[in-house]
């Protein structure tokens, strides 16, 4: 029966050590899978150059990360949420309800969203209009909204080859989806005149409500299998394209640049996506990347502030830093962000 004694003592040791070492000494990060590579590069360099342990970075999508971020304050909650979009008012409210009031918003730079297809397939030169006509639920034909009849890219735009429509776009829990909707589908909706039509026929109490309803109608995508939501990471999108050569996927620029042997990138409005064309703002589909820090955890979790400051320091997030090398478009207003983090400025002033 010695194993009973052994396991009892093991249990006791575990219990004692658990209570003794309850204080967490590493920074805990979760959120966007787009920010994950950047965050892991920073976390690694942080662990190497400082005496603090290497932060733990989990992914799972911006919304999932912010949801965990807003669970409350304390050592059993994460300190930093990575997001590929701005935090929503709804999420700030949810945070406040759970006691997370002082949130520091840090913009780390910009990232491009690219459209890429199989390297051996047809090349494309898209405009937002093409994507709206390809994927929207309803499009305008002869002044009326009808269910999207398009089956091939040639139906969408006569300049394209007659390749069946098949798109792999990020699922709704990804921040990338929202940018895709705003910068591509909505832009296309407005360009085709469908938005005006929807706005004129929208029902709502105020202009604002009408506008919202029209926007919602614009970005509702077809559900007949032409557009497939990918809830996983870009590797899943890549695998889908490899098995279905007609597919066109939505990727982050950095992911594409690591897989140039398998993917060819499409231009958008005539501009080839690159860190340069995104930095100048020529390439239209880009978005800022953020991370959010719980101010209440600064001073409690060792290294949290140092991590945030290190992340946006010139040698890391600057134009010659490792993040830019990996594909991040560095923020021209980095100095301002650095100052804000140094002062621990929270969102919404002194809330």
């Amino acid at each position: 029966m010695s194993f009973v004694k052994l396991s009892a003592s093991a249990l006791a040791i575990a219990a004692v050590s658990a209570t003794a070492a309850a204080a967490r000494d590493q920074v805990q990060v979760a959120g966007s899978s787009t920010v994950l590579p950047y965050a892991s590069i920073v976390a690694e360099a942080f662990g190497e150059n400082f005496d603090f342990p290497t932060p733990v970075v989990e992914s799972g999508g911006s919304s999932a990360g912010l949801k965990r971020f807003c669970e409350g304050v304390g050592e059993n909650t994460i300190d930093v949420a990575n997001a590929s979009r701005k935090i929503k008012d709804k999420e700030i409210k949810a945070c406040a309800e759970a006691g997370v009031t002082d949130i520091i918003e840090v913009r780390i730079g910009y990232d491009g969203i690219v459209f890429a297809s199989d390297i051996n397939g047809n090349g494309f030169e898209f405009t937002p209009t093409d994507w709206f006509l390809a994927l929207s639920d309803e499009i305008m034909v002869d002044g009326k909204m009808v269910a999207n009849p398009n089956k091939t890219w040639a139906d969408v735009n006569p300049a394209f080859p007659a390749q069946p429509l098949q798109a792999f776009i990020p699922g709704t829990k990804h921040g990338t989806r929202e940018v895709f909707e705003d910068k591509v589908i909505l832009a296309g909706c407005e360009a085709t005149g469908a938005f005006e039509h929807l706005l004129a026929n929208a029902t709502g109490d105020s202009d604002k409500a009408k506008k919202k309803a029209a926007e919602k109608a614009c970005i509702s995508l077809r559900t007949d299998g032409v557009s497939v939501d990918i809830d996983g990471d870009y590797t899943e999108t890549l695998a889908r394209i490899e098995s279905n050569k007609d597919g066109i996927g939505v990727f982050g620029l950095a992911f594409y640049e690591n897989n140039t042997d398998k993917l060819q990138v499409a231009t958008m409005s005539g501009i080839v996506p690159s860190t340069e064309s995104i930095a100048t703002g020529e390439y239209p589909v880009s978005r800022p990347l953020f991370f959010y820090v719980k101010k209440a955890h600064i001073g409690v979790i060792p290294g949290l502030k140092e991590y945030a400051e290190f992340f946006i320091s010139d040698e890391v997030a600057g134009p010659d830093g490792p993040l830019a090398e990996y594909g991040l478009v560095s923020d021209p207003e980095l100095a301002k962000t650095q100052e804000a983090v140094a002062n621990e400025d929270v969102m919404g002033g002194n809330s």
């Binding site: 194993f3 249990l11 040791i13 575990a14 070492a21 805990q28 976390a43 733990v56 590797t235 090398e325």
Partner: protein, 455 residues
């Protein structure tokens, strides 16, 4: 059932002749039945062949794609550890030396690469920055760690073996070709020319990489430096927790249920529920672990202790079911004999039944552990899947409480990263995980063969 006389149709001999024909000639019905049997055997063999083909395809794919991860390309360089860069004050104060970050080491490496290439007399049009681009980003970290450990070496020239960057490594492994890098901004054709020249000079070579087996995870920028060792430690500590908790609890529960518990509706419900628990999807245990162990009991996130507790819950039903089966297999005569010579019920169980059931219990436990070892889903929710590049734990408490990953979680993590070099490492990780699983299952089989008794 009326045709008994036809069954031994081709046996011949002294059997009674049937009315419908000779025993030596098969009638239509017999032929039909024999054909059915042959067909069934054919199906069986076909099923086995399909299974074997699948196994062969699986194993060859894994081995074919994964073995590359065990080899890595290294570059040998002599680096002059310039005092003017690393220790400006020249007082060898560790605090001052620490202030130079890995970014500060980049120029030293650049100079070392340049002088090496010039020393070898290789002509290249590349800028020093692109020459240094052949090295892994890990080189600066390696150099800094060395300097911090040996500050007395500052000012000397030391020989180092640095990792080459993943594209160079891929080029030597045949994963990257000149055609495939056409649009790649991480490497150029001129750099590959330089690699060819350096390989010819013996500076760049591909050798076995122990760091893949014992090292820690690395970020997206340096796949060549990633290793599975630390997550292996995470898995080990989780298995220790599972063993320490699930075995005693599981065995005690099954002995009580099997030998002592009265048979009534309550024990029936418990039995049914244990069987049900064994079929619960593992992610459910992850949610439970998050709610109970992290949010309620405030155990640390990403800790192997929590992972072990969650996997214990998952493994318990497996152990209980196999232990009960092992106890049931001990014939009642053993118990009766023990009770008959005056042993108490407990003595009968612990002195006679349990030793006889031990091989079965051990087998069940090992298989349960093997199952837990390969589990990822519950770990997703307790923060053990992600970029967790901690160092190998130094103490037992550290091993249980410091953040760590687990082998299958590490493989999953690698499989979803952008750089194709991580993909190769994911397959390599699968090989290591499979080696563990096969070993555990083999031990289970050997134990059963050697100690199991049949009545």
């Amino acid at each position: 059932m009326t045709d008994i006389s036809q069954t031994p149709s081709n046996m011949g001999g002294a059997a009674e002749q049937s009315k419908s024909g000779s025993l030596l000639t098969q009638n239509a019905r017999t032929r039909k039945r024999n054909a059915a049997e042959m067909r069934f055997r054919g199906y069986g063999i076909a099923a086995i062949v399909v299974g074997l083909i699948m196994l062969v395809v699986l194993v060859t794919t894994i081995v074919g794609r994964g073995t590359g991860a065990f080899q890595q390309t290294f570059v040998t360089l002599e680096v002059e550890l310039l005092e003017s860069k690393l220790d400006k004050k020249g007082n060898r104060d560790l605090e001052d030396i620490k202030k130079v970050t890995t970014f500060g080491y980049a120029p030293i490496i650049k100079a070392a690469v340049q002088s090496k290439i010039e020393g070898l007399g290789i002509e290249t049009s590349l800028k020093p920055k692109d020459m240094a681009g052949l090295l892994s980003k890990d080189a600066a970290a390696q150099l800094r760690a060395y300097v911090l450990e040996n500050p007395d070496q500052i000012g000397q020239t030391v020989e180092f073996r640095f990792l080459a960057q993943s594209r160079v490594d891929g080029y030597l492994k045949g994963r990257v070709s000149r055609e495939s890098i056409e649009n790649d901004k991480n490497i150029s054709g001129a750099q590959l020319d330089l690699v060819d020249a350096l390989v010819a000079a013996g500076v760049v070579e591909k050798t076995f990489n122990i760091d893949f087996i014992i090292g820690a995870d690395a970020s997206d920028q340096r796949p060549e430096a990633a290793g599975i060792g630390v997550s292996m430690m995470g898995s080990l500590f989780m298995m220790l927790v599972v063993l320490a908790l699930a075995l005693p609890i599981g065995v005690a529960a099954s002995i009580y249920l099997e030998e002592f518990a009265p048979k009534n509706w309550l024990t029936d419900i418990i039995e049914v529920n244990i069987s049900n628990l064994a079929a619960v999807p593992s992610i459910v245990f992850g949610i439970l672990g998050l709610a109970v162990f992290i949010n309620y009991m405030h155990l640390p996130m990403s800790a192997p202790l929590v992972g072990g507790l969650v996997l214990t819950l998952m493994t318990l039903p497996t152990i209980i079911i196999s232990t009960r089966a092992a106890l049931k297999a001990v014939p009642p005569s053993i118990r009766d004999a023990a009770l008959g010579v005056g042993a108490s019920k407990m003595q009968a169980v612990f002195h006679h039944v349990l030793p006889l059931a031990a091989p079965g219990i051990l087998t069940g436990t090992i298989i349960g552990l093997a199952q837990a070892l390969g589990e990822t889903a519950p770990l997703l929710l307790i923060g053990m899947v992600g970029f967790i590049a901690s160092n190998a734990p130094e103490t037992i408490a550290d091993g249980l409480l410091a953040p760590n990953s687990a082998m299958p979680a590490q493989i999953y993590e690698w499989a979803k990263r952008a750089d194709p070099a991580f993909y190769e490492r994911a397959w390599g990780g699968i090989i290591i995980l499979l080696v563990f699983l096969v070993t555990m299952n083999t031990v289970a089989v050997i134990l059963r063969r050697r100690f199991e008794r049949r009545w």
